[in-house]
Point group: C2
Chain length 495, copies 2
């Protein structure tokens, strides 16, 4: 959930100064369009960790737009008036009317998350609150509201550095209170609970947008652009007379071009002479784990996704090499059959959910919905946008039933892919592996990359995280895959 | 939830024989249209109490349509294969493909309800299962499925009679097992849990249709007509190219014209000479209850709905006459103001949610959404269809916060209304009470009546039931209102 927001996104001063004037003018225009249409309210939720720029963003939005048409609400501990009514009462009072923008700084998410962090509630209570929130937001969307939910994030290290820096400077020392350090001590717990909350409430009509909060220029531009984009798309929809409660539009790619794929160290490699030894070691460990008595009550679901020619097949063979052939199945996923097309898209994957004690290896998977189907336009935007939540639901069911879900994205660089394509064309026994489609996909490299990053942002959950594998070097890739599988299984089995 | 299904609906043999041939032909046609289009599956859920005709209905549907294109699934206790995979796995396997009809006899609702009845789970577990079901059904609808959920109901008494009758006849005695009587003993618990389940899962995309099971002809015709209607409307939508996951179409009015309003004994009256004494008695009781120490932690929300001139005002005055003026507020609800129209429709009612220790009396209410807005076309079908679930959610929040929610429908006959309208026109100080609109509404009497019955079917819940008040006689009506308020408050306060 938060991986993309720990990349150290930055925007330099020059591009900030170049972009701001137009952005502010566009934002104002969009705000006036919303006000003139008077067909829908804009509800902006501001949440996230301390010190990640929540307050500053509220101020910025008020400064860059016309504050007379913005209603900003913060929610201190509830008054008597509020406590004596149902929890949602105070938030209903704060809803902006059609044509206006409401910024809710702290909102219906705050108490459910904080109560859980403080152990005043259990996970089941949290989940129930989140379901109620989902219904509430669905209702708001059905009633026409445009909902934009920002989650501001800072990595643990960035958080620590921020507090240290403030303390060091005698002019800002006063800003660091005991409470700040106390909050910092529960950072991990807070992030874990938040991750669960975001997973449950990133719906098609109101997905979360996680913003890295460390760099003010990046944060401000990102928020402003996403908000502008959302308002413009929605105004256009209204003008076309489209029915409401359509799912939210996908956010644009990150500013400055820094993304999860770009953050990988693609030079990582393992010398060939060390490979055999490592392979033996991890295959042995994996074999033992798969025969662990505890595993009889569990199962293992492994997903391989990656660019064409990234080496999925090679990795899969090294995994299966460690397993008893009676205990695993490989599910190669190509275009759906006619039978499969006549069913909900998850149907063909449910068919292959493994029994207890078994391993299912998916060579491509349900993520096709948000990769190839998105990029090639096989699925409508509304359909792939809701798929993230549906996929999280699916994996949640697997995990609750005892499955260990391990997902790999095998990344190679464009150059490396080209090299491999050419090799395949030259080698006769590999020629079947390269088709015109591979060359066509290559032309959409950027669109795929954007889709991959969105996918990881929205489906790398605390229960089923993604592992990104630097796969320019096959030896490194294969060992990283095996090691990850061993680590995840070992943790799950308590072995 | 089940009131309408305890009215003793019947269809006589003559009209059965008149209707069946055409109905069967139409059903077959609709089935072939679905099959030819091959754009969506039809998923029929069959649930309900024992002996209410579930099995017979499954047989009937197979007999009346082409069984080659119907997949019928029953779900016995799960096999090893099934137990070793997540709960939903077996149901995914049973989903019909596009163009086909799937009848799921016993399904994803069965275990959550039975487990709760048997006390193997708690309410919070049940609610979580129901939320998961809602997400699953929403996904199915988003993927294009037409979902028709039938709940077959028999009153406790009808259930008892059925078992007795079977036992008496030596040819059928064998059909009554010990398990049948054991099930009968938990009838109340089963109905209470089912009521909760139906309330949580009657969504816009997949509302429950409760069918009275006692009379075979009524039951069969009702199921067939509702299914036919749903398939025809959906085929028409597909042909118009409308986007999926629109909410389900409302069901037609009940066969034979027997409905909740018709079942009222409109001759009920209280002699004027007894009225004063009864009034004093119940006003005194209500006053005491409103000053009960427990009430300081609770609140009272009273909803008055009813036909024009049904005497809401008179009832309200008798209620407020018993209360301390500092502790109640009357909320007269007319057409929404401009401010209110710029908000979700529930917003203006949230404003008036009472504090603890207070009473809020709504003279008309949020039910306008599914009454006047439905009948007059002020709200789109999709919007008022989803309102039932939203209203149940709203009242659930009130009740969980300690409010006692009491809802009255004041019913008068058309003749009585006419008499009152004429009187109002004659009496100078009452003339303001009668407008052209009242006369216009009268012309839509049947449409309103249908809307009222739907409303009660879908929003009379175990936490906030409707009370229907026979209001041709004002004295009777006022005392019934007061007595109901006293009884509900007394039960809630444990006074």
């Amino acid at each position: 959930m938060f991986e993309s927001a720990e990349l150290g996104h930055k925007v330099d001063k020059a591009s900030w100064e170049r972009q701001v004037p137009k952005l502010r003018a566009d934002l104002l225009d969009a705000q006036y369009d919303v006000g003139e249409l008077k067909k829908f309210p804009v509800i902006i939720l501001i949440n996230g960790v301390d010190g990640a720029g929540k307050g500053e963003t509220v101020n910025l939005l008020n400064a860059w737009m016309d504050p007379r048409h913005i209603q900003t609400h913060a929610f201190p501990p509830p008054s008597d008036e509020e406590r004596e009514r149902p929890y949602m009462w105070r938030f209903w009072r704060a809803l902006p009317p059609q044509g206006k923008i409401g910024i809710l700084f702290g909102n219906w998410y705050t108490d459910p998350i904080v109560d859980r962090v403080m152990k005043r509630t259990r996970n089941s209570d949290l989940d129930q609150s989140l379901e109620e929130i989902n219904r509430f937001e669905q209702m708001l969307a059905d009633e026409g509201a445009l909902i934009v939910k920002f989650w501001f994030h800072l990595s643990r290290e960035a958080q620590r550095k921020r507090l240290k820096a403030l303390e060091k400077d005698k002019d800002t020392r006063w800003r660091v209170t005991r409470a700040d350090w106390e909050h910092f001590r529960i950072y991990d717990k807070f992030v874990a609970v938040s991750s669960r909350a975001l997973r449950h409430t990133s719906t098609g009509v109101a997905p979360w947008i996680v913003v890295e909060g460390a760099d003010e220029r990046y944060r401000s531009l990102t928020v402003a652009k996403i908000l502008l984009d959302a308002m413009k798309k929605r105004v256009a929809r209204e003008k076309r007379g489209e029915r409401r409660a359509v799912v939210s539009a996908p956010p644009p790619p990150p500013l400055g071009g820094r993304d999860l794929i770009g953050a990988l160290d693609m030079t990582l490699a393992l010398p060939q002479k060390r490979f055999a030894g490592e392979l033996e070691k991890y295959q042995g460990r994996l074999n033992l784990l798969s025969r662990h008595p505890e595993f009889r009550q569990r199962s293992l679901v492994v997903v391989f996704e990656g660019s064409d020619a990234a080496g999925k097949g090679g990795c899969i063979r090294r995994v299966t090499g460690a397993l008893d052939a009676r205990h695993y199945g490989i599910v190669p996923v190509a275009a759906p059959s006619e039978e499969e097309r006549a069913q909900p898209y998850l149907w063909r994957f449910w068919r292959h959910v493994p029994r207890r004690g078994r391993v299912a290896i998916f060579d491509r998977s349900w993520y096709g919905r948000v990769l190839v189907e998105r990029v090639e336009g096989f699925a409508a935007e509304a359909d792939w946008m809701r798929a993230y939540a549906e996929i999280n639901d699916f994996e949640d069911q697997l995990v609750r039933h005892g499955a260990v879900v391990v997902k790999f994205w095998l990344a190679i660089t464009a150059d490396e892919q080209l090299k491999r394509f050419r090799e395949r064309e030259k080698t006769r026994f590999k020629r079947f592996k390269i088709t015109g489609e591979d060359w066509r996909n290559r032309k959409k490299w950027d669109a795929y990359r954007h889709a991959v990053c969105d996918m990881i942002d929205r489906t790398s959950t605390e229960i089923a995280p993604w592992t990104l594998v630097e796969a320019n070097d096959k030896y490194h890739a294969r060992i990283k895959v095996l090691r990850t599988l061993c680590d995840r299984l070992q943790a799950a089995l308590g072995a």
